[in-house]
């Protein structure tokens, strides 16, 4: 599904990712954890084409996509929910969802994912609460019918009940459609609820991978690796 090999990237002269490799299979959710500055967000931006790659390659369904522009990667099946959600704040909930696929009439499928969105379909996106905004961002990303979803800290600023709701919705989508998920998080709760594997980054590369099931049984495994 998604394969990243020997990714090297950074900002200016500084290297953030240094030979990072990661593979995510169909119907698999992988949590990428690590301290601030280890390259979690950079990894997603590189996969999406928002940051140039200095070395390595990204493949989606076996096809190299690291040389094509961002919009072509989105059309190939990647969807991205950035940190901060990336909503168009002046547009309504309905228009944000329409933008995910202008050719497809009706947005009821996306509104149906989260009940609060349907109630607020005509509200401006920037008038929603943090949790509703995250729901909207995820509903919009899913409306693009992605094969691989990249999520950057979706639990940030969101109350626990909504995080639980997000996890259930995404888990169901993964099971139903074979969606692959790469979840970047500082907070391990959502990763534990959603993911099959947890990948720990250090200094721009994968330091260790453990089954999420093991961490669910013993949460101290995560604390030890994050130095908490």
């Amino acid at each position: 599904m998604l394969e990243c090999r020997d990714l090297t990237a950074g900002y200016g002269g500084g290297v953030v990712l240094e030979g990072l490799s990661l593979a995510v299979g169909r119907g698999e959710a992988v949590g990428v954890l690590g301290r601030n500055g280890v390259g979690k967000t950079t990894l997603l931006r590189v996969i999406m084409g928002l940051l140039p790659l200095a070395g390595g390659e990204v493949r989606l369904d076996g096809l190299p996509i690291h040389r094509v522009p961002t919009h072509a990667r989105a059309r190939a099946g990647l969807a991205y929910v950035p940190q901060g959600r990336g909503l168009f704040g002046e547009l309504s909930v309905a228009d944000n969802l329409r933008l995910a696929d202008l050719a497809r009439p009706g947005i009821d499928d996306a509104l149906g994912l989260f009940s609060t969105l349907a109630e607020r379909r005509d509200a401006r996106a920037d008038a929603l609460s943090g949790g509703q905004q995250q729901q909207l961002a995820i509903a919009r990303a899913l409306r693009t019918r992605p094969t691989c979803l990249l999520l950057d800290e979706p639990s940030e600023g969101v109350q626990p009940s909504v995080v639980s709701d997000l996890a259930d919705t995404l888990r169901a989508r993964v099971a139903e459609t074979g969606l692959a998920v790469v979840l970047v998080e500082q907070n391990a709760d959502l990763a534990l609820r959603l993911c099959d594997r947890l990948v720990f980054l250090e200094a721009g590369a994968v330091a260790e991978t453990i089954p999420a099931e093991a961490a669910r049984r013993d949460p101290a495994l995560i604390d030890a690796r994050l130095g908490l």
């Binding site: 919009h71 991205y80 704040g89 933008l99």
Partner: protein
């Protein structure tokens, strides 16, 4: 001043305001989407006027020239975008310098081909409409209707179509729009071409009313820029409000005193309004350049 004089003055001012709106709208769209300050906008207007001259010279009608002005200047806009503008995106000062260079090239090229002298184009319609107490030229009324129709069509395009929704998304957040599958480069090209085409149509429409010469664009560029600054960005109504305010002042002062005093008044009031309303009379909060 009689009632008839006042009505004629009001119609003259309205005509100027609407043409100015058309030119300012092109500038505002290009700046709003691309963050490019197009110093070549006046030259695109001038190219529209010269296209009418060429078409008439080749035996075609004025109306054919007017119809071709938009598409032809859009093509020039596409070429300029591909050769120059795309290399300076996200560098505001460089866009000013680059488009200023483009304006010099276009102006000198036109001077080389057509000479520095001014040309006149006959009014395509000589008739006048009779109002109570006065008559008013049909062609000037036509220009008003054309400008209104194009401003309305632009509003429809950006606020009532899928293209417009996508364009507003690209304006708000280019990266996120790309992440949703929108080819932002295609929007760049289309926007620059469309904004340029509006200037081209305005130039072609005004050609029979003013002298057509290589310098004619400058006379519209400055008031159009001031209209955008005074009216504000982020809506179609902004440039309209700016052009309405400055066009009315220009027309009234020119009639009461002289065109020179009108320029002074427009500049002075623009400075005051920009000081009082930094985001424009109808400006919205948006990204800073």
């Amino acid at each position: 001043m009689t009632g008839a004089d006042l009505a004629i003055l009001a119609l003259d001012v309205a005509g100027y305001v609407l043409i100015l709106t058309l030119v300012a709208l092109g500038l505002a769209i290009i700046f709003g989407l691309l963050r490019v300050i197009s110093m070549a906008h006046g030259e695109f207007l001038m190219l529209g006027a010269y296209l009418v001259l060429v078409v008439e010279g080749a035996g075609g009608s004025f109306w054919l020239g007017l119809a071709l002005a938009g598409p032809a200047v859009a093509l020039v806009g596409l070429l300029v975008e591909a050769v120059v503008i795309r290399r300076v995106y996200r560098r505001l000062l460089d866009t000013i310098l680059a488009t200023w260079g483009v304006s010099l090239v276009i102006r000198q090229a036109v001077t080389l081909v057509f000479g520095p002298a001014s040309h006149s184009i006959d009014l395509p319609v000589d008739a006048a409409v009779a109002f109570p107490g006065f008559e008013y030229p049909v062609y000037r009324l036509f220009i008003m209707a054309l400008s209104l129709a194009l401003v309305g069509a632009t509003a429809w395009l950006f606020f009532a179509t899928r293209f417009g929704l996508a364009a507003r998304a690209v304006i708000a957040d280019r990266d996120m729009a790309a992440c949703l599958g929108y080819d932002t480069r295609a929007f760049d090209r289309a926007t620059f071409a469309y904004g340029s085409a509006l200037a081209g149509v305005a130039g072609a429409a005004m050609a029979p009313l003013i002298s057509v010469d290589p310098q004619m664009g400058v006379g519209f560029l400055v008031p159009a820029f001031l209209s955008v600054l005074v009216g504000g960005l982020g809506s179609i109504a902004g440039p309209l409000a700016g052009a309405g305010t400055l066009g009315a002042i220009d027309g009234l002062v020119a009639r009461a005193l002289s065109p020179v005093w009108a320029q002074v008044a427009v500049l002075a009031i623009a400075v005051v309004l920009i000081r009082l309303f930094p985001k424009g009379l109808l400006g919205r909060r948006g990204r800073s350049p």
